[in-house]
């Protein structure tokens, strides 16, 4: 039946029919909820009643009038620091495991496995690791003779709790970053390395002058994931500390969820989400600006 149609028309039909399903899915599960979110942010909907009273920009005004809300971003800083360390470790392992090495696939799998695990399960597991009295970390420190450290309250000390939580994130996502780095390493043409070798470059020089510059776009991508991840942490503190002690590990997203589901203020919570969205875009713009200062490739 398609025979009578011209080639370009057939092409159009195929393109449209192939694209319909994914576009529909995208629209239903991403764009429609996003548009709804924007709409809710202009109402003071309580989350269940049929009426959604329009309040204009009141929610946004309320968020910006309450500096407390933005203070929780300080807690996200720990995740950012740990994210940078995570990327450095990931590059290290990627470079090491990209060499000819006995059992390198085994090590790759070993490092990647934590990423496959469910986030809540990981959080639960680390609850046992960080437990002050019966936790495996303190038991280990104690048996190493570091009895001064073996009483540390990893999740109950204000300055420490966010780093403890973020280190869990490091353990979990390092392998993921590593896999991306390995992929980009393998995309670097081997002849550049051979040329450098012939010219007598040391391995440090090769890493610094050839490997890293060639990986720049991927490093940017990973930093992007790290920054957005750091700004949107939720599951770890939610499961492990509930934001405690006394709010010291509360994150912005957790606050949004509390506002919506504990305090029945979906309107305000939607406004907070939209603000987070803009905040992420803003931070990423700065990141782009800083990283591209040396001119784009």
């Amino acid at each position: 039946m398609f025979g009578s149609l011209s080639y370009s028309k057939q092409k159009m039909i195929i393109i449209i029919s192939f694209l319909t399903v994914p576009l529909l899915l995208l629209a239903t599960f991403t764009y429609y909820p996003a548009i709804k979110l924007v709409y809710y942010s202009f109402t003071n909907w309580d989350g269940y009643s049929p009426e959604k009273p329009w309040v204009g920009l009141d929610n946004y005004r309320e968020v910006f009038a309450n500096p407390d809300i933005f203070k929780v971003f300080e807690h996200n800083f720990a995740y950012f620091v740990m994210g940078i360390i995570q990327n450095i470790i990931a590059i290290y392992f990627a470079v090491v495991l990209n060499n000819r090495l006995r059992g390198k696939n085994f090590f790759r799998i070993l490092l990647f496995l934590p990423y496959i695990m469910n986030g809540v399960a990981v959080a639960f597991m680390f609850g046992y690791v960080f437990d002050t009295t019966n936790g495996s970390l303190n038991l280990l420190l104690g048996s190493l003779g570091l009895s001064g450290l073996s009483d540390t309250s990893w999740l109950g000390t204000e300055g420490l709790v966010n780093y403890s939580l973020a280190s869990t994130g490091l353990w979990r996502f390092m392998g993921y970053n590593m896999v991306i780095y390995i992929a980009s390493l393998q995309a670097i043409p081997q002849d550049i390395f051979e040329a450098a070798k012939i010219d007598g470059a040391s391995s440090m020089q090769t890493l610094w002058r050839i490997t890293l510059p060639n990986m720049k776009p991927v490093i940017q991508l990973n930093l992007f994931l790290t920054v957005t991840g750091a700004l949107e942490v939720f599951d770890l503190p939610f499961v492990l500390t509930k934001g405690g002690p006394a709010g010291a590990s509360q994150t912005y997203v957790q606050r949004v969820v509390d506002t919506a589901f504990a305090y029945n203020n979906y309107g305000l919570a939607s406004a907070m989400s939209i603000i987070l969205l803009f905040f992420v875009v803003f931070v990423l713009l700065i990141q782009q600006l800083v990283l591209n200062r040396g001119g784009n490739k």
Binding site: S49, G156, K242, A246, F261
Partner: protein, 424 residues
């Protein structure tokens, strides 16, 4: 699961005067009447339950007995996700309610929008907390079981520490804690980190200390609801005192709820201050019923015990259910005949029923006065939500702060601001 339950226990109370001792008129008679036309009622109903642990076990047995009486009603159980309240609200927003469910936290004025009145069940003169989920004189929810809060303790741990008699005053209580501590037993498991186990300290104790069931609602009339010398300050002060003396867990920011039940059962921890629902869970964690005791917390030195009575979840029938009669019959049967309250460790929801739990008998043996609260004032709830006030979280801050007065000042300020905005 326990989290969901205890959340519901939170801001509650009502004003039935009997404490469950009124003798039964003749329960057999009314049952006969309903069973005459029991087989006429038919239909398939769903019940959204929070007790996912009972599906395939106790519920199977309940449904078997239920179907002996109502052969033509088919009950389908729907297990709730972790947060019942949240899930129920989502279902309400989408207008797809199960036929039988528990009422989530919504203002009573919204009840008629979603639920059918239950006045025709013939239980009106027997149910406790009758005014709790009523609106315009109509009853929309019936308590599935009631709770009180007090000290749940390991009798063997008490005996080992040389405590021969349960403490009747706060000083005696502290002395008992000291004895337990000397014995290497953690006196009171607060489960501080998890926040919800502090609910009884901030929802039950303040109104009992104030001897005013309406104390939580009185916040409406003040800009400074939290002071050191009112119910809130005193109740949180007791918890702070226990922590300062080292009578709580070694590190209160690192506690483990599931493990604490086993530790109470094993006598490594001495006590809980929680609702009576926890008794069966402690027994289930590995001890015998006669090793677990229950007494009212002696919050002062008067020697006159009193404790708060609170309802748990309320059964309700969806207004738009296709089989309202079947749903109502199921609710009535669950309350009258299932025996759910004994399994769950509740004080029975009907006034003329007596609990079968030994611990509840011990609790009441000291002549405790059970104080029932009033319905939460929706305006107070509005202000609390606006101020993002979460009392157990305030208690956490209060206990951890170097200067607790500052914590009270901070929340007083938030309260005053929100009160102005809501009332304007």
């Amino acid at each position: 699961m326990a989290v969901v339950m205890s959340l519901l226990l939170s801001g509650c109370g009502s004003d039935n005067s009997g404490s469950g001792n009124t003798p039964a008129a003749d329960p057999g008679k009314s049952n006969q009447e309903t069973s005459k036309n029991a087989s006429d009622i038919s239909g398939k109903i769903t019940f959204l339950t929070n007790r996912t642990d009972m599906i395939g076990k106790e519920y199977d047995e309940y449904l078997k007995r239920f179907n002996e009486k109502y052969p033509n009603i088919e009950v389908e159980l729907e297990p709730s996700q972790t947060d019942y309240n949240q899930q129920a609200k989502v279902r309400m927003a989408s207008q797809e309610l199960p036929d039988v469910m528990f009422i989530p936290t919504i203002p009573n004025s919204d009840l008629p929008k979603y639920f059918a009145p239950l006045d025709d069940l013939g239980l009106n003169d027997q149910v406790t907390f009758k005014d709790f989920k009523s609106f315009d004189g109509k009853l929309y929810g019936i308590s599935s079981g009631n709770s009180t809060s007090g000290i749940v303790y390991n009798k063997k741990a008490f005996a080992d520490a040389g405590i021969t008699e349960v403490p009747k005053t706060w000083d005696e209580f502290l002395a008992a804690c000291e004895k337990l501590k000397q014995k290497g037993i953690v006196p009171l498991a607060s489960n501080f980190k998890d926040k919800w186990p502090l609910n009884n300290w901030v929802y039950d104790l303040p109104r009992v200390i104030e001897n005013n069931p309406n104390f939580p609602n009185d916040k409406l009339n003040t800009d400074t609801p939290f002071t050191m010398d009112n119910g809130y300050g005193k109740a949180m002060g007791l918890l702070r005192q226990l922590n300062e003396k080292g009578y709580l867990e070694k590190d209160i920011n690192s506690t483990n709820w599931e493990q604490s039940k086993k530790d109470i059962a094993a006598g490594k921890f001495g006590m809980y201050f929680l609702g009576n629902w926890v008794i069966n869970q402690v027994i289930g964690a590995g001890t015998t019923s006669d090793n677990v005791g229950f007494f009212p917390l002696p919050y002062d030195n008067s020697g006159k015990p009193s404790a708060a009575l609170s309802p748990d979840f309320f059964y309700a029938v969806a207004k738009d259910s296709e089989h309202v009669d079947a749903a109502k019959a199921f609710v009535k049967w669950m309350i009258e005949e299932s025996g759910y309250e004994d399994f769950a460790g509740f004080i029975p929801p009907l006034k003329n029923k007596e609990s079968k739990l030994a611990q509840l008998k011990e609790f009441q043996s000291g002549g405790v006065k059970l104080q029932e609260g009033t319905v939460d004032d929706p305006v107070v709830t509005d202000i609390s939500n606006k101020a993002q006030l979460d009392l157990p979280a305030v208690a956490q801050e209060f206990v951890l702060a170097s200067d607790p007065q500052k914590v009270l000042d901070k929340w007083n300020a938030a309260w005053a601001k929100a009160r102005k905005e809501v009332k304007h």
